[in-house]
Symmetry: C2
Subunit: 565 residues, 2 copies
């Protein structure tokens, strides 16, 4: 057996140029992002750099996407901060250890989900919930960074509190910090909108121009670092800077969480795991499809799990596939995960010899790069679409976003998931049902309320357009009893099960009782168009035995038994 991944065994020299370019460009993007997201997570800057080396290599060997760029991302950084801030002082040694343990737990969960085929847990998160969650998180992150732009100290656990704190601290604004922060914000926003078109007009190929525009954060970082260093703004004007970043590769070290840490970290780790997984797979999927490639969700669980274990091992924190970074990686011509390995090697080089260059980098500029990055995550399009298509989904989205903004990421996402499930049960508990008759001269049966159809005296044919489960079993019973109360002549009740994909044991119990109660009143319960897998299970029950001879392959056959007069 060969332990090398398939892409490496089949590597073609022609791919090397693309992988090298992409690796280089992603590194230039990754450096400011790693520092900024570590700050967002409440961690020392080097932790962000550590999380950008080994995890990428681990994913390269085990993941299934050719172009996903794994590393620190905004939402997982926010979730890390939100999980750890109640447990330890941000930036303390204990906090750093807990962050690595969070990555460890998340990694173990990802691997366990892969092994136990529990990937379906990710399906608990509907698009509206994820969209609401990300939009809410983006607002929370952006508002939380404003203090760095203003150069003031503000604590606040929710958006309103933070905004109130900012308003109060406004008089303490540091002019130099604000100037650097605001200039970076304007530069980054302008670059995002106008740089690529301008470069294109200057004769640069569109694709190259777009990639160059993505490097604007690095330009802001270099320019602001130079300004602060040259004018000594950190001393003369109180501009907060990154300061000394330890030089050298991370030490490999795995500190297992104790039982009490496990009790406090498992829920945030689960949410980080599920949201990270869903996001990664959706990014990886959309990129893979552009090249007719396939993503294997179980391989993704493995790859992301290994990446998080590697992050924990090398003093990092939870990582996942980043959206912006993966798109750039793809656009820059990455063919295989070798691009990631190259990027990891470059990051290792940076951390081994160049961390001194980050000394004068101002927090305000990192905050500006975060704000610009997360505002692109605010997604009103999905809300608009959901509002037109499905109000219940739109409400789930808004409730999740408001929950995140007002009560934090965990309560927000749990609110959203609960609402999605409530909507699922609510919908199941309001099944569409129709009394049907035969369209004259055909084998088609339609709603008697909408069409001119023939009925058979004494036969009531009811089509149920939903699986019969605990959520709607009694609703069906109520509807049947109401119909029977209207028409005393009914002698056969035909349930048409063409849309019944399952009958759970609650519904089986209700049907069994219904059949007996109907039989006592001289009414026969019949079924038609029962699906194979459904009948396989029902046939061996008491209900199945009692229904013998009353189950028809088609509605036509059930109607045909009696001659319409």
């Amino acid at each position: 057996m060969n332990y090398l991944p398939a892409w490496l065994r089949a590597y073609r020299p022609a791919w090397l140029a693309g992988d090298l370019t992409a690796g280089l460009i992603v590194t230039v993007m990754l450096i400011p992002q790693s520092l900024a997201y570590a700050m967002l997570a409440g961690l020392p800057p080097e932790v962000g750099l550590y999380a950008s080396i080994l995890p990428i290599v681990a994913y390269a060997f085990l993941g299934s996407s050719m172009t996903l760029a794994v590393g620190p991302v905004a939402v997982a950084s926010l979730m890390t901060a939100s999980a750890l801030q109640p447990l330890a002082a941000a930036g303390s040694a204990e906090y750093v250890t807990l962050a690595a343990q969070l990555a460890l737990i998340s990694g173990v969960m990802l691997l366990a989900f892969g092994a136990l085929r529990l990937g379906f847990l990710a399906h608990f998160l509907s698009h509206p919930v994820i969209s609401g969650f990300i939009t809410g998180s983006a607002v929370l992150i952006a508002v939380g960074q404003l203090k760095h732009i203003l150069g003031v100290q503000v604590a606040g656990s929710d958006v309103l509190e933070t905004l109130r704190g900012l308003a109060k601290a406004l008089p303490q604004t540091q002019p130099a910090t604000l100037a650097l922060g605001a200039a970076s914000l304007i530069f980054l926003l302008a670059s995002r909108r106008y740089l690529a078109p301008v470069l294109t007009r200057l004769g640069i190929a569109t694709k190259t121009a777009e990639l160059m525009a993505k490097l604007a954060p690095m330009v802001a970082v270099i320019a602001s670092t130079a300004i602060v260093a040259f004018f000594g703004l950190h001393e003369s004007a109180g501009v907060r800077i990154v300061g000394a970043v330890p030089q050298g590769l991370p030490h490999l070290n795995l500190q297992l969480p104790g039982l009490s840490a496990l009790g406090q970290l498992w829920l945030p780790a689960l949410l980080i795991t599920l949201i990270g997984f869903v996001e990664s797979v959706s990014v990886a999927q959309s990129l893979a499809l552009k090249r007719q490639q396939r993503i294997q969700p179980n391989r993704e669980l493995l790859g992301l799990g290994a990446a998080n274990l590697a992050s924990a091992l090398s003093g990092g924190y939870p990582v996942t596939g980043g959206f912006a970074r993966s798109v750039v990686n793809f656009a820059a011509g990455a063919h295989t995960p070798l691009a990631g390995v190259i990027s990891a090697a470059l990051m290792a080089l940076v951390i081994s010899v160049m961390t001194g260059l980050f000394y004068y980098l101002p927090h305000a500029v990192l905050a500006a790069t975060i704000i610009v990055a997360v505002t692109s995550l605010i997604d009103l399009h999905t809300l608009k679409e959901a509002w037109h298509y499905d109000r219940a989904d739109a409400l789930s989205l808004v409730a999740t976003a408001l929950g995140v903004v007002s009560m934090g990421v965990e309560v927000g996402v749990l609110t959203g998931v609960s609402l999605s499930l409530a909507v699922l049960v609510w919908r199941s508990s309001h099944p569409h049902m129709a009394v049907v008759g035969r369209v004259p001269g055909t084998e088609h049966f339609r709603n008697i309320a909408r069409h001119q159809v023939q009925t058979v005296p004494g036969l009531l044919a009811l089509r149920v357009d939903e699986s019969l489960i605990f959520a709607n079993a009694t609703v069906l019973e109520d509807r049947i009893e109401a119909l029977l109360a209207q028409d005393a002549s009914v002698r056969r009740l035909l349930l048409i099960c063409s849309a019944v994909n399952q009958i759970d044991s609650t519904a089986l119990g209700v049907l069994t009782q219904l059949e007996r109660s109907l039989a006592a009143r001289g009414i026969a319960l019949c079924l038609a168009e029962v699906k194979g897998p459904v009948w396989d299970r029902v046939s061996s029950t008491e209900l199945g035995r009692r229904l013998e001879g009353k189950v028809f392959l088609s509605t036509h056959a059930a109607f045909g038994q009696e001659n319409p007069d």
Copy 2:
């Protein structure tokens, strides 16, 4: 408008004999039950009696069942104890006030659910969850009563802890208490099994004999009270007795809960409300069907809500429809809620003049009546059936029961509900899908893996037997991509939607992206047999516009477009 209930306006003199007999028999059952369940709930005995007067009258005027007997029940009593014990000392004035407030909140919830048509919330509880909950509660209750049988003091929040405490306290067992308790237990168990057959053999009609057997608890109560009083066992042998029960009707008084009490009581109140409602309706329904009557769930919400408000108003605690009591009421010939009103009047008489008779009643005998009553609630039949029919449901049942026994009623039922929902999502996330072809010479289309069918080159027809929602949208996408990867010749992908009862916005998003991605690869996405309500919504979306001309009424029509060679 006439404010008298329909049953009273249409009352026939012929019904009076049955209602009188039933009212009398139910009262004889209700007296020991009221005292015992109050003890179980940690409340003074008179609270159980109070909860057996006005609530019955309120239900009689507003409920829809003719024979449901409302009052204190075992499971709601256990839930009351579990909710209040962390908040106040059992039996204290504060505890009694909180119990009434629990009834008040539950009553308001029931009325609100009725008004807002939120009865569907009860559908969150599947049969397996309810069965597991009741079985677990019965075990918890029975084990909790053993200390009264032994005459020892034991505290324990779960079954294991209680059993350990009992084992430790065994040497302190009071012989006289144990003798009374064990004798009552044996007498009650023997009566339940053998009394009715013996009485029948003595020439008494079967129905009468069965009713007489139900009065065994009253016999145990009278006999043990007489023995304790005669021998002075409460003084000579330390047998715990009920003691002085205040004489006189309850004072009407409504103390509204404060915000902090509301915060602590809402969740237990919600669980009591939902479980009480589900249980009541299922008892009422099964009795009503025997006489071709109907239960109106919304009227039940009203009736039970009013009963709980009446209980709160008269110093009681949460009440609901009792299973055993309602069956006896029905069997004793109750025709209308007048039986309940008679029973309430008799209870009022008892509490006005006869509470002195309960003075010497030993706790051990009340505990024996509780144990015998709840062991009949242990339901292994449902577990056995669910195990054969549906393992996932059986696991939900067992998990709920174990959760109740090991972690208490609230955690147990929340575990069960979460599991039911997880099963719902899990099932939805594993939809049955089949590639189909035409059965030669027909308009029928069947699974190509199971049947000899004709296919059309370049056309892949996939039938999905599940609604398309967030839980399975990506599963469908994965399956389609896997099928396409196997067959490069596909030019049209036909989704047969005959069993698709809804498409939520997550699935819509996935389908929209899929259609675009397929189109880019030269493959047309087509739909067939889309249900009216589903298409009504999809047609106005981007996907709907892009699918124009590719939506077929039937699979036959979609196949027909191309000529099979």
